[in-house]
């Protein structure tokens, strides 16, 4: 019984700290991806219109995966790490019960030894022996009652432990499964965004800028240097849409930060 509780204390403590570390590492991964999102968004502004639109769509998907990762972090904290932490209290209570049992058991042994001694040294002292026998019987009743209580406590503890273990790891698996499924969904969309990009229009644009905007023809007064035509494109629907979506995502991001603050330091706050 003692080893059952000691064992549970040891392993549940390890599961708790390992899963807390796992959650923190997940938060670190989210932080790095968030930084990549920011850099990619900056970069998009320096590129041609097609690449700009493509990177903005991609960045939105990448950011969404991080939002799901953030939800993963919060749920791991609440449904996996916290329940494992609460085990500490339950184990403490069961430990106290075991201590009580050991005390009662020790007393019974003491009374038994007393009786044995009396029987050996003063076998004729009927009154003393009778008294000692009563003490032993009382101690035995105590032990019996305490043992029964303890058995019930340890039995409940063990039942709870097995159920909790099943529930906590089921929750872990569910949280991970939901995150991975969402990630597959979002990345499938991101893949299509990247696949349909064609650099031709951006290259035309780039060449037009290179010939029209670099100013090197000013240094060639003796050579024919007619300014190249500036390929026009509508800065309309696509660009505007991206900004709106990007705005929406920024709102989401600040919403996440608030949630994160509630979660505390443990899970590695977004910055």
């Amino acid at each position: 019984m003692d080893s059952t509780v000691t064992n549970a204390e040891k392993y549940f403590g390890q599961f708790c700290s390992l899963l807390a570390a796992y959650t923190r590492k997940t938060a670190r991964l989210r932080d790095k991806a968030d930084q990549l999102v920011k850099q990619l968004a900056d970069f998009a502004n320096t590129e041609g219109p097609e690449m700009r639109a493509t990177v903005r769509d991609f960045v939105e998907d990448l950011a969404q995966v991080q939002d799901y990762r953030q939800a993963e972090v919060e749920r791991l904290e609440t449904k996996v790490v916290m329940p494992l932490k609460l085990y500490g209290a339950q184990i403490k209570q069961t430990r106290a019960e075991i201590k009580k049992f050991k005390r009662v058991q020790k007393n019974e042994i003491k009374q038994l030894e007393k009786l044995e001694k009396l029987r050996r040294k003063s076998p004729s002292d009927r009154q003393m022996i009778s008294q000692a026998e009563t003490n032993v019987q009382r101690a035995s009743v105590d032990t019996g009652r305490t043992t029964h209580q303890l058995e019930e406590t340890v039995d409940a503890f063990q039942r709870q432990k097995l159920r909790d273990l099943q529930r906590i790891f089921s929750d872990f698996v569910t949280i991970e499964m939901v995150f991975h499924a969402k990630a597959v969904e979002v990345y499938s969309r991101a893949f299509q965004t990247l696949e349909k990009y064609s650099p031709e229009r951006d290259l035309q644009d780039f060449r037009a800028k290179m010939h029209g905007g670099s100013g090197h023809h000013l240094a060639r007064p003796l050579l024919d240097a007619s300014p190249s035509p500036c390929v026009p494109w509508p800065p309309g629907s696509q660009g505007a849409q991206s900004t709106v979506r990007s705005q929406r995502h920024e709102d989401e991001q600040s919403g996440d930060s608030v949630e994160e603050d509630l979660g505390g330091q443990e899970q590695g706050p977004r910055h």
Copy 2:
């Protein structure tokens, strides 16, 4: 043209270091999960037969997800971080071309200034002016040729950059997508393993041990203490199968370590 290359250098450098960090954090996550796998495997040995089989099956799935994560880490390293690193060389070459162009351009300006000065100070020295005009024309031809070469280089650089960017991030998304899809698959199986666990048989076993093995009835000589029946179960098929599978996994693990060693320190070797 200069800003195109400077910009690419800046952003590709950032993408490279962020994606290298992302890969390292993924490796750290894998390490934590590997530690959890070890602890759970240890714990399984201390539990009743049903929980032991359940945890062993679960641990196998958890370890398999880490194997997929290891593949993810290796592929990110090879198909995302390395190509971004190689960009450094390409940028260096383009930078050298730009430097050459600037030198040639500077010479043309110098020749032009010389000609202007001669025209102002010695407008009658036809021979000197004619020589200076020839020098300016030569310098102009040089500038024209170098400019053309440079435009071609920068054009190729830009085309390559856009294509590489598309390819690298497509590869990133594909690698992530494959990992997440595999994780969903394995965790679905793990979820079923955990769901079908019932603690009843383990609790019967535990109670039998508690009554039969704790020895407390020896301290109760005056009370009725008949030893409880020890519920028997076959230690057969299920247990043996688990061990074999666990063995197979250990082989996989050591295989991974070898692969990992090839990858070097960067991606956080398994231990």
